[in-house]
């Protein structure tokens, strides 16, 4: 009886220690992960980089092809939501303009984005 009580109490304590180690201190480190599981901040960074590429080459198909990596169902909607979130969170104006340009190319220019749309003035740039 003494042995069993000691065993079960220790097993409970050990289980708690094991859960802490396995979930908190040394959680499973994933490698070979898909881009769809990227942390939100890196997803934002990725779409921003694609938007910069689109600003350089105007290649909408290429941009869409690269955004498929994130495995979102509706890419234009995803671009729109990301852009509006950037605007709502007052992120860098340069970044917002890149995203608005991409959203415009994807046919998702909303009234919220219009003030950030790049315009070319006659005789100017």
């Amino acid at each position: 009886m003494r042995f069993l009580i000691s065993f079960f109490v220790a097993a409970l304590i050990g289980l708690g220690v094991g859960l802490y180690l396995g979930w908190v201190q040394f959680p499973v480190q994933f490698i070979d992960s898909p881009a769809s599981s990227l942390a939100p901040g890196f997803k934002d960074d990725y779409i921003l980089m694609i938007a910069a590429g689109y600003a350089a080459d105007n290649d909408l198909n290429g941009a869409f092809e690269r955004l498929r990596l994130l495995e979102v169902n509706d890419i234009p909607l995803y671009i729109q939501e990301t852009t509006e979130r950037y605007i709502s969170n007052s992120r860098s104006v340069d970044d917002i303009r890149l995203l608005v340009n991409l959203a415009s190319g994807a046919g998702r220019l909303t009234p919220l984005m219009e003030p950030y749309q790049q315009v070319t003035l006659p005789g100017g740039s």
């Binding site: 009580i5 992960s33 910069a52």
Partner: protein
């Protein structure tokens, strides 16, 4: 008479001292075994049965293919911003095992030897990578495979014309006025080798996903005012075939409208023969409808006069 007991029989047997101490309520053997079993069970549960859900992946955890695409994205951004520090910072998030710039060169090499550069989009990406690592004095096999973008045909070709025969001296015969006109001054002819500007350009190619109009290329040829122009010849080419059709043949639609049905999985290039540059490849890939069903992506191609 024999005594009932001998003196040595009446003496109490010696009890070891360890049995005389109060008994510990803890079994150390049980504790050790319990801890081993508990910790082992906990780790098995957290690492195997119910591991931490993967949702905050860092770039360095990406698989090889997605890692390549992430680096391509970094290079595309660099191609636009020329911000080296930012590009290096982003490459650092990938925790490269070697020189990160050389890794870019190696990936450009791998991509250039694959089908990735078969379309202009992939070609541009590889060129962006080449610009990046070449500026940092690195080399890769892509240098021999992909021509840099800035190698253009020579701007002009100078043709030295033969020296013209001198005009014979005037005779007494009245010379007709037409002949009296001056001989054109010989000189250098400058022949531009750049192709002439196209009459039409592709303004935009938005995509859409529809059940009813799945896998369709919708073409609209418009004038400067956005009005459709009927009767314009449009050509669609794909691997192993091509088709030409004219705008304005769909009653009830825009007079500049025409459409073409794509085969799922194939890529198509659209142009107006002799009047426009070819489009980017339009690939009939799968897309998701709002209700979650799958369909084939469709494109709207707008062609307008070159400004």
């Amino acid at each position: 008479m024999r005594p009932t007991s001998l003196p040595e029989d009446t003496a109490q047997p010696r009890i070891p001292r360890r049995y005389q101490r109060p008994r510990s309520p803890i079994s150390w053997l049980g504790v050790i075994l319990g801890l081993v079993v508990g910790v082992g069970g906990g780790l098995f549960y957290t690492w195997v049965l119910n591991p931490v859900v993967e949702f905050d992946t860092q770039p360095w955890q990406l698989n090889a293919e997605d890692r390549q695409q992430y680096i391509v994205a970094i290079m595309l951004d660099y191609g636009y911003t020329s911000d080296l520090a930012r590009a290096m910072e982003r490459l650092g998030t990938l925790r490269p095992q070697q020189d990160p710039i050389q890794e870019v060169a190696d990936i450009a090499c791998a991509l250039s030897t694959s089908g990735y550069v078969n379309n202009s989009s992939g070609l541009r990406a590889v060129r962006a990578m080449m610009r990046f690592y070449q500026l940092q004095n690195r080399q890769g096999c892509a240098d021999q495979i992909v021509l840099p973008e800035d190698i253009q045909p020579t701007a002009v070709v100078l043709i030295q014309l033969p020296t013209p025969t001198l005009t014979p001296p005037a005779t007494k015969t009245a010379t007709p006025e037409a002949i009296a006109r001056g001989t054109p001054t010989p000189g250098l002819f400058i022949v531009p080798t750049t192709p002439p500007q196209s009459a039409y350009e592709i303004a935009n190619i938005p995509t859409f996903c529809s059940q009813e109009r799945a896998g369709l290329i919708e073409v609209n040829v418009v004038d400067f005012n956005g009005q459709g122009i009927p009767g314009q010849r449009v050509r669609v080419r794909w691997d192993g075939g091509e088709s030409s059709f004219a705008t304005g043949l769909k009653p009830g639609r825009n007079p500049g409208y025409a459409d073409f049905q794509m085969e799922p999985g194939l890529s198509y290039i659209l142009d107006m023969p002799g009047l426009s540059d070819p489009s980017q490849p339009l690939t009939a890939t799968s897309c998701a409808l709002e209700n979650g069903d799958r369909s084939v992506i469709s494109y709207r191609v707008i062609l307008r006069p070159t400004q």
